[in-house]
Amino acid sequence: MNAPPPLSSRSVLLRFALIAFVLLVIVLAFAYVAGCLTPQRLTAQSLVNQLQANAGVFPGYRRNHAKGVCVAGYFESNGNAQPYSIAQVFAPGRTPVVGRFAVPIGNPYGPDSSAPLRSMALRFTQANGQQWRTGMNSMPVFLVNTPQAFYEFLQAQQPDPATGKPNPAKVGAFFASHPETAPFLAWVKTAKPSASYVTESYLSLNAFEFVDANGARHAVRWRMVSETPDTTPGGSEPNYLDADLTQRLAQGPQRWHLVVTLANPGDPTNDATKAWPSDRRDIDAGTLVLTSSTPQESGACRDINYDPLVLPDGIQASDDPLLPARSAAYATSYLRRTSEEAHLPGTADAHSTQEAK
């Protein structure tokens, strides 16, 4: 090969500058996509940081719904949902379930009466290895319909350092500027912390899509309806829920019916603050049977991320913007608490005095 004619020193400099420019453009594009240049962008990290700012950090525990208990059992499908979804869980028969009941607070030692609602998370493991994970709440609608509004709600809830409580002016301003919260506020006025996890019914709140054998999609919401409903509120004891659950399970398995609601055309699938009209078609898809409970510190639910977007073939996410945000935030919470369990450098100690309580 013939040697190329030499370059002038100006030419060399220009060519080095061109190379540096190309590399710089790539680095800047990478930094932009990673969010480094847009600190105002809402991320899972900022959501979880705000949860921590509000409730404190309890190493090894979930960043929200931190107080809870593991349960296990199975789902007995009756086949009624099969025409709408090809998911194996809806074929007649049993699917094993590992679940978790929780109080939606960030402090795992807070009293059971801290919030007037409960949550139920379930992981169904199908015979084909696919999974369905769902996190449901015992309320008829969600508070807000976008991740940004949820973040603003969390910011408004941050305790004022002077009083240790949220600033009522900020909370008031949040609700005044978010009229979509009206249905939730109307409900929460009458809501009381239940005396039992078992007497509650739990709703998906977010919409999903069932996919049938022809590939047709059906917008749905689902709920677990208690076979033993009761509206008795809990007392002033801090920890009555676990004792109640243990006692009821000692008497026998506890049951819920999985009721799937089919949307009519035009029903909102992207707005968890709006309930669908009550005349929509309900399908009783089968019975959830819970047979045992274990404390969450040692139970199988501890290391499960109940990400609502872990779905089997036959169930898909809707266009609800809360779903990807939940998925992202749960993943961040999961990474933080598993890093604490692993005692990785820079994480809080998962076996501090709090847990040794």
Partner: protein, 180 residues
């Protein structure tokens, strides 16, 4: 074309440019998906997993092609330190192409997640369920990806240096372009 050719064999060049596009896309998808809570988060993750497995399979093919077809020698007058950097960074790139997808797969396995490449295609787990292993593998996945990005920048910078400043035929041995 024999092994003394100044160019990489056609299979090596095709694999190089295809994987360059896939890996650069993958690096941007990776940092983008963890920095988003919108629907973008979800569809980027749905691309990330099958694309990662595709890169793993292509990397295996590429390693075989590389071992069967020694690359053209570097210019004889290239300083020893630059030769060392060239060889070390190439083997590092091969290592990362193979290891990062495997760490990602192992990480999902350790986290107890079903490893879904599509709505219905599931890979078996390659690591026992363990929250501690999940955390270590998840951080490792991200740090190795950052190392891959830095190695890519060095690789691209060096390639442009050879092509624009040294003009020694190293860049054209991969582009296939030969000036008359």
């Amino acid at each position: 074309m024999n092994t003394s050719s100044p160019q990489f064999v056609l299979a090596a060049r095709v694999l190089h440019w295809l994987m360059a596009a896939l890996i650069l896309t993958m690096l941007f998808i990776g940092v983008g998906m963890v920095a988003s809570v919108s629907e973008r988060h979800e569809w980027l993750i749905r691309i990330h997993k099958p694309l990662g497995i595709a890169i793993l399979l292509l990397a295996v093919v590429r390693l075989i092609v590389r071992l069967r077809n020694p690359p053209p020698p570097l210019p004889a007058d290239l300083p020893a330190i630059q030769k060392l950097a060239a060889h070390a960074s190439h083997w590092l790139l091969y290592l990362l192409m193979l290891v990062i997808p495997l760490v990602g797969w192992a990480m999902l396995s350790a986290g107890g997640y079903p490893v879904m490449l599509s709505d219905s295609l599931r890979l078996p787990p390659i690591f026992p369920v363990s929250p501690v292993a999940f955390a270590v593998l998840r951080h490792t996945h991200a740090w190795l990806a950052m190392l891959l990005f830095l190695t890519f920048l060095a690789h691209l910078g060096a390639a442009l240096y050879h092509g624009l400043i040294r003009r020694d035929g190293v860049l054209s041995s991969m582009t296939g372009y030969r000036p008359k």
